[in-house]
């Protein structure tokens, strides 16, 4: 299919065709990454600006490698974590980005929705590299790629996502990317860390909540454990990390309840011993390092597709 999207802000309205186009493109990029010289020319002369307003070495480096592998010029803008506290407003940063004239802006921001704000006000294509609790589209796509690589066709497969779903942009993007591919999702974790609406009768399509992790993983085709932020205990959402790891930690016994060979994933960075046992994290079924490798290829695929989606409509000419 022909790629028509200008931005990658969220995958919530993407069709199965669009997701599969990116997955197919990713396979081609993996081939480039396996060559002795990991470099191809399609983004030569294009500028990719990495705007990370929230600390993230892993995702930033992944995008940087992806952009460089496609021969793009890469520039970093680091901005304050919170515009209000540190004095520089996102509005100011957007004016700067617009003046710099990059072709693609890759952004990470602590506020849900911030990429929409930027996309409205610049001519560049915007890729959301994680915004607040909202979305992390490239993580969702790389998880889909990794799962499909491990399991084949995902139609009818059941994947468990366990942990702090409420505050997790990864969980939201995994749901939005996997469900159109035919996956059923079981969420598990403490009720205080699940969106209330999703527990009480209004879950997204093909998503169910099962508080008992042993039951959730029973016969599942794979599991994604989410990172638990330690401050959840201080804010009264958890009694203790010890209890959490006993009730919702991913142990070898729980992994053994899934279908034989079912993969274990985690978006990183991990708190080993809290949400995941070390033996599981580094065990035979762990795809956690594969996720990191695939991440570069997924980001290359998106950069490539966006660069080919035609010129921007300048801000001042938009209706």
């Amino acid at each position: 299919m022909k790629w028509t999207r200008r931005h990658v802000l969220d995958t919530d309205d993407w069709s199965r065709d669009e997701i599969e186009t990116v997955l197919d493109q990713t396979r081609a990029m993996i081939e480039i990454l396996q060559r002795p010289i990991r470099r191809a020319p399609p983004l030569r002369g294009r500028t990719v600006i990495l705007f990370f307003a929230e600390a993230s070495t892993r995702t930033r480096v992944s995008f940087e490698l992806a952009a460089k592998a496609l021969s793009a010029d890469v520039t970093n803008i680091t901005a304050s974590g919170s515009s209000v506290e540190k004095g520089e407003s996102l509005y100011d940063t957007v004016r700067t980005l617009q003046a710099l004239g990059g072709d693609i802006v890759v952004m990470r921001h602590a506020s849900s929705g911030a990429p929409y704000f930027v996309a409205e006000r610049t001519d560049a294509a915007v890729i959301n590299a994680g915004d607040g609790w909202h979305a992390h589209p490239t993580q969702g796509i790389l998880d889909a790629y990794t799962l499909r690589d491990a399991l084949g066709d995902l139609d009818g497969k059941r994947i468990v996502i366990v942990g702090d779903v409420l505050h997790s942009r990864v969980a939201r993007s995994d749901i939005n990317t996997l469900v159109p591919l035919g996956v059923r999702i079981t969420l598990s974790g403490p009720p205080t860390l699940m969106p209330m609406a999703w527990r009480c009768g209004q879950p997204p399509r093909e998503v169910t909540y099962e508080p008992d992790l042993d039951r959730a993983v029973d016969g599942a085709d794979g599991v994604i454990a989410l990172r638990l932020q330690r401050e959840r205990q201080e804010s009264g959402l958890l009694p203790s990390l010890r209890e959490y790891s006993r009730v919702w930690g991913l142990t070898a016994e729980r992994v053994a309840r899934m279908r034989p060979g079912a993969p274990v994933m985690h978006p990183g960075p991990m708190n080993e011993g809290i949400e995941i046992d070390s033996a599981v994290a580094h065990g035979a079924h762990s795809l956690i390092e594969t996720q990191v490798t695939n991440g570069v290829a997924v980001r290359m695929a998106l950069l490539y597709l966006l660069a080919g989606s035609g010129p921007a409509i300048p801000v001042e000419e938009r209706a």
């Binding site: 849900s112 929705g113 909202h134």
Partner: protein
């Protein structure tokens, strides 16, 4: 109220709840621009909330608001509401009797609920003896926490912290219990949930002296607006019209709720549970809104779009026109304990279509999710004390020639 073809002639509207921002925040609104905007929206009287800087918490400041408010030639009559507590800090009572004597028409710490129930009880006892109503913004701050929109399926999808309906309803229940105990008149402002309306309906049936209002935006918009919908609650779908998700003009406190809540507010209007429609006009300078959604100020500039929003619901059959007009006139007058003002009246053109633009507002606050939208229904003439007319010349002549 009289109907003449497309024109409605009604007594002048009274807004129980507007933020005119002066003194202290004149970049967002002034008494002059706010009063002008009020008259443009059909409100011949506007009650100014005291969350200014300084807060209106002394007799001298109440008199200052009267002195600074423009004359009737320039805008609506401005009636100051004084704060309940000194500096609106919720710690000690302001001099409520003196404030009433100076002309404060009501008391409110709006924006900050009086969290301390014992202090709120004292405020009610005092207000009762001063002969004034207490207007309370019901919100349990611990429960609403850092929420920026209604907690529900939309906040779950957007990954925004939510304010549950219960954060309003627990406060409504507390305030009703205190009104019952003290016998004081308590007015609950900008109720937004179905549960709140149920609580007030039951309290009224029990004879508790509680009244309440709802806003035009809570009568017209749902939490889906935060996700980019621009369909009014009575419309089935968007008809191709969509906003951008996370538009901070949809950020308001209390937050836009679900369609079921909106229906309950209209049902409350229809059965008399809801006494008034008040705008909670909350103008903001663009610097407060042109930021990330979670950092943006709460509030919608509402004085100049109230009439078309309300008429939209009336056209959809969600309440009768006389009910809606009463909620803008006799309803708020009864809440304040005043007689409707002789001579004040408005003429509304029910069919006039107009587009909301920054230039169409007299208010300095252009913060509304209706920006750019075509609305039906416009105030053509507003008359205060038989002295001043505003609006379309053609209709002015028609009225004069009658």
């Amino acid at each position: 109220m009289k109907l003449e073809g497309r024109y409605i002639e009604a007594p002048g509207f009274i807004d129980l709840h507007a933020h005119l921002r002066e003194p202290g925040f004149e970049e967002s609104e002034t008494l002059a621009t706010g009063a002008h905007a009020a008259l443009h929206g059909g409100f011949t009287t506007v009650c100014a909330m005291p969350n200014t800087d300084p807060a209106i918490d002394t007799a001298a400041l109440v008199k200052e608001v009267y002195a600074r408010a423009p004359g009737w030639a320039e805008g609506a009559r401005v009636w100051p509401i004084a704060s309940i507590t000194r500096g609106r800090k919720g710690k000690e009572l302001a001099d409520l009797v003196e404030l009433a004597q100076a002309g404060a028409v009501a008391f409110s710490d709006d924006g900050s609920p009086v969290d301390d129930a014992r202090l709120f009880r004292s405020a009610l006892e005092y207000a009762r003896s001063a002969g004034r109503v207490v207007i309370e913004h019901p919100q349990d701050l611990a429960l609403s926490a850092k929420g920026v929109m209604h907690e529900g399926s939309v906040s779950a999808r957007l990954g925004l912290p939510g304010m549950p309906a219960a954060a309003e309803e627990t406060a409504v229940a507390r305030d009703i219990a205190l009104a019952r105990m003290t016998g004081a008149r308590v007015h609950l402002t900008h109720l937004s949930t179905s549960g709140s309306i149920d609580l007030v309906r039951r309290a009224k049936a029990d004879g508790v002296s509680v009244t309440c209002d709802v806003t035009p935006h809570h009568l017209a918009m749902t939490d889906e607006w935060v996700a980019g919908s621009r369909a009014f609650a009575w419309e089935v779908q968007d008809e191709g019209l969509r906003g951008v998700p996370y538009d901070s003009s949809t950020k308001v406190n209390p937050p836009l709720r679900t369609r079921a809540d909106v229906r309950a507010l209209w049902a409350g209007l229809a059965d008399g549970t809801v006494d008034a429609i008040a705008t909670d006009h909350a103008p903001h300078a663009s610097t407060k809104k042109d930021v990330e959604f979670d950092q943006a100020a709460f509030g919608i500039s509402g004085l100049e779009t109230a009439v078309p929003l309300i008429l939209g619901g009336v056209r959809a059959g969600w309440a009768s026109l006389p009910t809606a007009i009463a909620a803008l006139t006799t309803g708020p007058a009864r809440v304040l304990g005043v007689d409707p003002l002789e001579g004040d009246h408005v003429v509304i053109d029910q069919e006039a279509e107009w587009v909301v633009t920054p230039e169409s507002f007299f208010s300095l606050g252009k913060n509304t999710p209706l920006m750019g939208r075509s609305l039906i229904g416009k105030v053509d003439i507003a008359v205060i004390g038989s002295t001043k007319r505003r609006g379309g010349q053609r209709v002015a002549k028609a009225i004069a020639g009658r």
